[in-house]
């Protein structure tokens, strides 16, 4: 067995990393194509505030972050109705509120510098067995939902009006997509970090869009690129002592640039 896989924390990191690497871009495909790329960023920032609240009140932070984000989804949808013509405004308001709250909470919690850095940029050593269990459960649920409701999400992403005419409960599936986003953020928060998790929802999708010849292909290529980015990121972060979130996201950006260059040479 290679050295990197002999450590239990790295085994855990690889398991979670692969789940995150696959799940982030699959949700990201729906978000990017609906021009909702900023949703991931917004929900990640609010879930950071949720984690800190959890730490402050001595409650398990991951489920608490999930709970806060789900609450935020409802607020977000309400705000979007108040500003129907400025979709990004409600996102900006919630994102500022989430980040502002997180910064204030950081002052109150006695979290050490390293654990705060871990929350922001990811860490491979902080995964507890309880985290793994919750992450496994959430991943299983997310994969099941994506496979079962693939058609509904695809239809909604392609043509909301058409989906409505086809009898799809558009409002319900809009919420569903946002809940899935919060779940995937909760899954990836520990390892990629709150500031970078949403990049993993976007960059692999952007790279995949350069290659794909169909919707299913876009989804599958994005997942493969996401997984590859996580693998490269974790290995480099282990050997070079880098924050895993940064290494993972940079890997995905480098893959994107390589594909872009390849497309320029072989259009």
């Amino acid at each position: 067995m290679p050295e990197i896989l002999q450590y239990t924390f790295m085994q855990k990191a690889f398991v979670v990393g692969l789940l995150v690497g696959g799940l982030c871009p699959s949700i990201g495909t729906f978000l990017v194509l609906r021009r909702l790329s900023m949703v991931g960023e917004t929900l990640a920032h609010t879930s950071l505030a949720g984690v800190l609240l959890g730490i402050l009140w001595g409650i398990s932070p991951l489920p608490f972050a999930l709970l806060v984000s789900i609450l935020i989804v409802f607020v977000l949808e309400k705000l979007r109705k108040i500003f129907p013509n400025y979709a990004e405004l409600s996102l900006a308001i919630i994102m500022s509120a989430g980040l502002g709250l997180a910064v204030v909470l950081m002052e109150f919690t006695n979290a050490s510098d390293t654990s705060v850095t871990g929350l922001l940029f990811g860490s491979i050593i902080t995964l507890s067995n309880q985290d793994i269990l919750l992450i496994g459960l959430l991943s299983f649920l997310s994969i099941l939902v994506i496979i079962r409701y693939y058609r509904e999400f695809f239809y909604l992403t392609f043509d909301e009006e058409g989906a409505r005419l086809a009898g799809i409960a558009v409002e319900r599936f809009n919420y569903f997509l946002l809940f899935l986003t919060t779940m995937v953020i909760a899954i990836g928060l520990r390892i990629v970090g709150a500031l970078l998790i949403s990049s993993l929802m976007i960059v692999p999708v952007a790279a995949s869009l350069l290659l794909s010849r169909g919707f299913k292909q876009t989804l599958l290529f994005a997942v493969l690129i996401g997984i590859l980015s996580v693998l490269i990121g974790l290995v480099t972060s282990f050997y070079l002592g880098l924050a895993p979130g940064g290494a993972i996201v940079l890997s995905s950006v480098i893959i994107f640039l390589i594909i872009l260059l390849f497309k320029k040479i072989h259009p």
Binding site: Y150, D159, E161, G162, A166, R213, F215, K216, T218
Partner: protein, 222 residues
């Protein structure tokens, strides 16, 4: 034999906070009709279509859809504007599969229905093409194929030739003509009746809250 398939009886419709756009108006459509709905901008042509489709509920009046033999006819609808992004990364086949695909792994065309409908709209060669690579006319035919997927008895179209060049318009109307010959009841909204004149069987003019039937020979007066 022709049977009444849609009847609107003393319909009044107003958008909230506005005066009625249709008032106490009647309309009867028969099986095998090819109806063109004309009228100035904002004269409630689309509203009338949406009332017949059941997408808008009139404040007064009744709507009956169906004949003695077909209690609830299947309906196909090609909306005026499909709110989709032109560069959406999906193939023609994938878009048509959306109608009956159940999950990620399921084959979306188990009965060969999609293949058949693509042949009908003369796009059989394009099933694996990305939407972004199609011309405006071809794209419109993809959405026409989608409207025809469930083998409807009535086909509603809202300005189907908008933004199409003359050749694409002719191709589209030629297709509609073929479907009409096969027995499909067609109801289409348009503001430019010239190219559809030879194919349509009835002309309705919507204006000032009323629907007026115009004899086919008199349409130029409009």
């Amino acid at each position: 034999m022709k049977e009444k398939i849609i009847s609107l009886d003393k319909i009044t419709f107003a958008y909230p906070g506005n005066p009625p756009v249709l008032e106490d108006t009647n309309l009867e459509i028969y099986t095998g009709d090819f109806v063109v709905i004309l009228g100035p901008n904002g004269s409630a042509k689309t509203t009338l279509l949406k009332i017949m489709l059941g997408l808008l509920k009139p404040q007064k009046g009744t709507i009956k859809i169906g004949t003695s033999s077909i209690a609830s006819p299947l309906i196909g609808y090609l909306p005026q504007k499909t709110s989709f992004n032109q560069s959406f990364p999906a193939t023609v086949q994938e878009i048509l599969e959306l109608t009956n695909k159940k999950s990620f792994f399921q084959n979306g065309d188990p009965t060969g229905q999609i293949k058949a409908v693509l042949k009908k709209v003369k796009l059989q060669e394009k099933s694996n093409s990305l939407l972004g690579t199609l011309s405006g006319g071809q794209l419109q035919r993809v959405f026409l194929a989608r409207a025809l997927l469930n083998n409807p008895q009535i086909l509603f179209l809202d300005e189907p030739a908008n933004n199409l060049d003359i050749q694409a318009q002719d191709e589209l109307y030629e297709l509609l003509h073929n479907f009409h010959q096969e027995g499909l009841t067609i109801i289409t909204v348009t503001h430019d009746p010239n190219s559809i004149l030879d194919y349509a069987s009835r002309f309705l003019y919507v204006d000032r809250r009323k629907i007026t039937e115009i004899p086919k020979d008199n349409w130029r007066v409009v």
